[in-house]
């Protein structure tokens, strides 16, 4: 089962639509609620990251019997220092993002904690791709 969602940078009204849709699908499939929460928290944080930092992006979700693979590709500024970005409390978010309740430097660490597999590919000035895998 494959799903695809487009995400627009800066549009906080739509942030979370993909995570919400995936949550409903996983519930219908009878996936363990604890696992569903890990998936939607990781996906929601990653979705918010695209809205907060990138110009646009696409989310691909592949659901199989054994788990879910999420791929979030964005066109954006990229991450100059992944080590720093993974540090709790480090953030480059704007004031507007902070007013939405995010931008405290917890997004990537939260994703990592909820994922069984997590990989970041980034090119400064071009964009970032996150690959997230969570087993059922």
């Amino acid at each position: 089962m494959r799903f695809e969602y487009k995400v627009e940078g800066g549009d906080f009204t739509q942030a979370g639509n993909a995570a919400s849709a995936i949550k409903k699908t996983l519930k219908q499939l009878g996936v363990d609620p604890v696992v569903i929460k890990r998936v939607v928290v990781a996906l929601y944080e990653a979705e918010v990251n695209i809205v907060a930092h990138a110009w646009r992006g696409v989310i691909y979700a592949d659901i199989e019997g054994s788990g879910i693979k999420l791929r979030l590709e964005d066109e954006g500024p990229g991450i100059p220092d992944i080590g720093k970005a993974m540090t709790r409390g480090f953030s480059t978010a704007s004031e507007g993002v902070r007013e939405m309740g995010f931008g405290a430097g917890m997004g990537l660490p939260n994703i990592s904690e909820n994922a069984d597999e997590f990989h970041i590919d980034t090119v400064v000035g071009e964009g970032t791709t996150l690959n997230i895998g969570i087993r059922f």
Partner: protein
């Protein structure tokens, strides 16, 4: 405590799910930082926040949180209510500050979650 008791303590008004105030809650978590809420493994608590926007409701949805208190007399907008209803949440609006709401509820026996 029941949500009805909770409302009495913080001068709260249910703006969504008003027919469910007989339900009870044991734990509370107060934050304006949604990433903080998303770190919690539990979903059996009332989220007390001063953040009145669609992402606060989204965060509750992602966290499976059924009960929310929006503090400081902030306006709960139509799109927030729509999303809250869609996700079967009870949303209570209080004119008190986040600090005062959390303090009163803790004093009355609501347990902290951390």
């Amino acid at each position: 405590m029941t949500l009805k008791d909770l409302c009495k303590l913080i001068d709260g008004r249910a703006v969504c799910g008003a027919d469910r105030l007989d339900e009870g809650v044991k734990y509370g978590f107060a934050s304006d930082l949604m990433s903080d809420v998303l770190t919690l493994k539990s979903d059996d608590f009332v989220l007390i926040t001063g953040l009145a926007n669609i992402q606060a409701i989204r965060t509750a949805e992602m966290s499976n949180v059924s009960y929310m208190v929006i503090c400081r007399g902030k306006t709960v907008t139509e799109d927030m209510l729509e999303l809250a209803e869609e996700n079967d949440m009870v949303v209570i609006a209080s004119p008190f500050s986040l600090f005062k709401c959390a303090g009163l509820l803790w004093q009355a026996g609501l347990k902290e979650l951390y």
